[in-house]
């Protein structure tokens, strides 16, 4: 806790606050912070709601005329977390999800980087047409793809209701998500902001395209690549329809299946338990996200070293 406070630099903040005067610059600063704070609150509400609900008793949720905005510590129903853990084999589901997220993310990164590089840097016949064709695939709702992809995956024998093995389930779950037009487009845009001079310089030095991609483009585009990793992992984490379709055994499914299937039964969803389960599932993601965030925000300075 102390560390957090130290990190926030509260002491210095108070020091600065004491020195505060109403200058034009200060008024601007106040306006900026107010704007950001307002939207931050707006954005934060659902997350807060999730934590709050997960700590309320069912009785309070169902009977309070106006939902309360606070739960006193002594009233917090930590029991919800215990019940939620009992509702589905989350450990197994999380292990599956981590595995699938890892495989599909590695695949996505490899395919995305190389394709984005080709689109951003290499000059080949039909590039713009192909690129538009790729973007065009985003214009068909995903559900139309699900039909054919299910047939493909079952046609390959990966989703038989009788004989599916775990490796088959892994392939069925990850292969369709090992590349993404959305991310190729994203990364291509980042690659395009890297000046051509760097490429030319590398060519002059006799650097191969691959080495240039690996040593120069990828490090410069790392905030985008980390963003893609996070997004892809989140996608796997919240995947529901596809895992439900292509897994034949319940133990092959992913966390969101566990979450949804445990809490969409009949009437009277126990929202508090559902939220506790959601928190349990979200928590690892949150950690990963916070760990990776500093890499997105590390910033890429292209200025030379100065005297």
């Amino acid at each position: 806790m102390e560390k957090i406070i130290e990190k926030l630099n509260l002491k210095e903040f108070w020091k600065d606050l004491k020195k505060f005067r109403f200058t034009k610059a200060n008024v601007r600063t106040i306006a900026v912070y107010s704007f950001l704070l307002l939207f931050a609150i707006f954005v934060f509400i659902p997350f807060y709601w999730m934590i709050l609900t997960s700590l309320k008793t069912l009785e309070e949720i169902e009977t309070a005329l106006q939902p309360s905005l606070w739960v006193k510590f002594k009233d917090m129903a930590f029991y919800n977390y215990y019940s939620a853990l009992q509702a589905a084999p989350y450990i197994r589901y999380m292990a599956n999800t981590v595995l699938i997220a890892f495989i599909s993310t590695v695949g996505t990164i490899v395919t995305t980087i190389s394709a984005a590089f080709a689109f951003a840097r290499l000059n080949f016949k039909g590039r713009d047409t192909l690129f538009l064709a790729l973007i065009a695939t985003m214009m068909i709702p995903g559900e139309m793809f699900v039909i054919t992809n299910y047939l493909t995956v079952t046609g390959l024998g990966w989703a038989s209701p009788f004989t599916q093995t775990f490796p088959e389930a892994i392939m069925a779950l990850s292969f369709p998500f090992m590349t993404s037009v959305f991310y190729i487009f994203f990364l291509r845009q980042t690659f395009k902001t890297i000046p051509d001079e760097l490429y030319l310089a590398a060519k002059v030095d006799g650097t191969s395209d691959f080495k240039y991609l690996r040593r120069i483009m990828v490090p410069i585009a790392s905030p985008t690549i980390i963003t893609i990793i996070i997004l892809n992992a989140m996608g796997t984490w919240s995947a529901y329809i596809w895992p439900n379709l292509v897994t034949s055994k319940e133990e092959y499914r992913l966390v969101t299946n566990g979450l949804r299937n445990a809490y969409t039964q009949n009437q009277g969803i126990a929202y508090n338990e559902a939220m506790a389960a959601a928190m349990i599932v979200t928590f690892p993601l949150l950690i990963v996200f916070l760990l990776l965030k500093k890499y997105i925000m590390r910033g890429v300075s292209r200025a030379g070293t100065k005297g």
Binding site: P195, E197, A303, G304, T305, K306, G307
Partner: protein, 354 residues
């Protein structure tokens, strides 16, 4: 516009709270209308100094004056400076003309007038026919001129250049530095320019300021500084090939190297460094120094003798003699020293003794 830096200090704090003193109590007065080179090895604080003058960095201590005006707490935009960045920082999405006009738009110069001024400035730097190009369609030298034009167009009180030539090839560098000199003469703007290249600094500056470890070591006209270095650092830093530095001893006003007296000094007895410029030697069969020639390089009118001198800081020395002297490797040559080319430094403080 005279610029005065008083006791200027800048301390950077890293994330782990370790502090680095980039500039230490700097006092410099830059006379109006001159071109001043800030020279020093990388990390000496010269760019930091420039950025403090520009207002992009805030000093921890000390004042900055433009004429009589204290600009220390003034925002960069109010200081009336033009700044040319090392990488030029030309806006890639704007044409040359838009780049040059950009500062004028900010101060709401009417468009007609801005167009005329931009064209004038472009002509001055010699890129008047490239106005519609985008920066990436220009060569490095052309980009550099655009950057200068952009800095000058709003008629700044002070022009600041940050390593402006470092991205150019050798020929272009030579050509451009003359160009900078010419432009500065024509406009008469007080100009400060930062470089780590001594030749560059010496060739175009009216005066140079030599910095080391955030401190000013010496300031003066380039030739003066070269001829009369105040201290060991300046002597070592200036000059190509570098100065030859011997371990020496003062004994009764005589400077002894390897036990032989090579000159006289005012200093007290004790161990010293003796620096001799490569051009400070004269071949003389009665000379006190006996040098064994290891290799001979003939460069045009001069000949450089490469001498191996063991137990000195770099054990090959260069001695420049007239090309008419025919000397072969392996020969032993006797030399004496031109009096003005020998510098004696205190071994502890590095101060000049002479």
């Amino acid at each position: 516009m005279e610029i005065k830096l008083q006791d200027l200090t800048k301390i950077f704090q890293a994330k782990d709270k370790t502090e680095t003193v980039a500039v230490k109590s700097l006092d410099i007065t830059i006379p109006s209308g001159k071109l001043i080179g800030l020279l020093g090895p990388s990390g000496c604080g010269k760019s930091t100094t420039l950025y403090m003058i520009a207002g992009l960095l805030k000093p921890n201590n000390g004042r900055i004056f433009f004429g009589d005006e204290d600009v220390t707490d003034m925002a960069p935009e109010d200081r009336g400076i033009g700044l040319v960045f090392q990488n030029y920082a030309l806006y890639p999405h704007m044409s040359v003309q838009q780049n040059i006009m950009f500062p004028l738009e900010n101060i709401k110069v009417p468009k007609d007038e801005a167009l005329v001024r931009a064209q004038e400035m472009a002509d001055l730097v010699g890129i008047g026919d490239l106005m519609s190009r985008k920066p990436k369609q220009l060569s490095g030298g052309q980009q550099q001129r655009v950057a200068i034009a952009r800095a000058l167009v709003k008629k700044p009180r002070v022009l600041l250049l940050d390593e402006p030539l470092s991205n150019l090839d050798a020929r272009l560098r030579l050509q451009t530095r003359e160009e900078i000199k010419r432009i500065q003469r024509e406009t008469g703007i007080t100009t400060i320019f930062v470089t780590h290249d001594q030749e560059e600094a010496m060739s175009i500056s009216d005066e140079i300021v030599l910095m080391e470890l955030g401190e000013k070591r010496q300031m003066g006209e380039p030739q003066d500084v070269y001829d009369f270095p105040n201290n060991l650092f300046v002597a070592r830093f200036l000059g190509t090939p570098p100065i030859n530095m011997y371990d020496g001893v003062i004994s009764k006003k005589n400077v002894l190297v390897n036990g032989k007296a090579i000159g006289t000094t005012k200093g007290a007895d004790g161990e010293v460094f003796v620096g001799i410029r490569p051009e400070g030697y004269i071949i003389d069969k009665d000379g006190p120094l006996e040098l064994t020639v290891y290799m001979v390089e003939t460069i045009g009118r001069d000949t450089a003798l490469i001498i191996k001198v063991p137990n000195t800081e770099n054990d090959t020395f260069r001695v420049i003699v007239d090309a008419s002297e025919r000397i072969k490797p392996g020969e032993v040559v006797k030399m004496k020293i031109k009096p003005k080319k020998m510098f004696v430094f205190n071994k502890e403080t590095g101060e000049l003794i002479n």
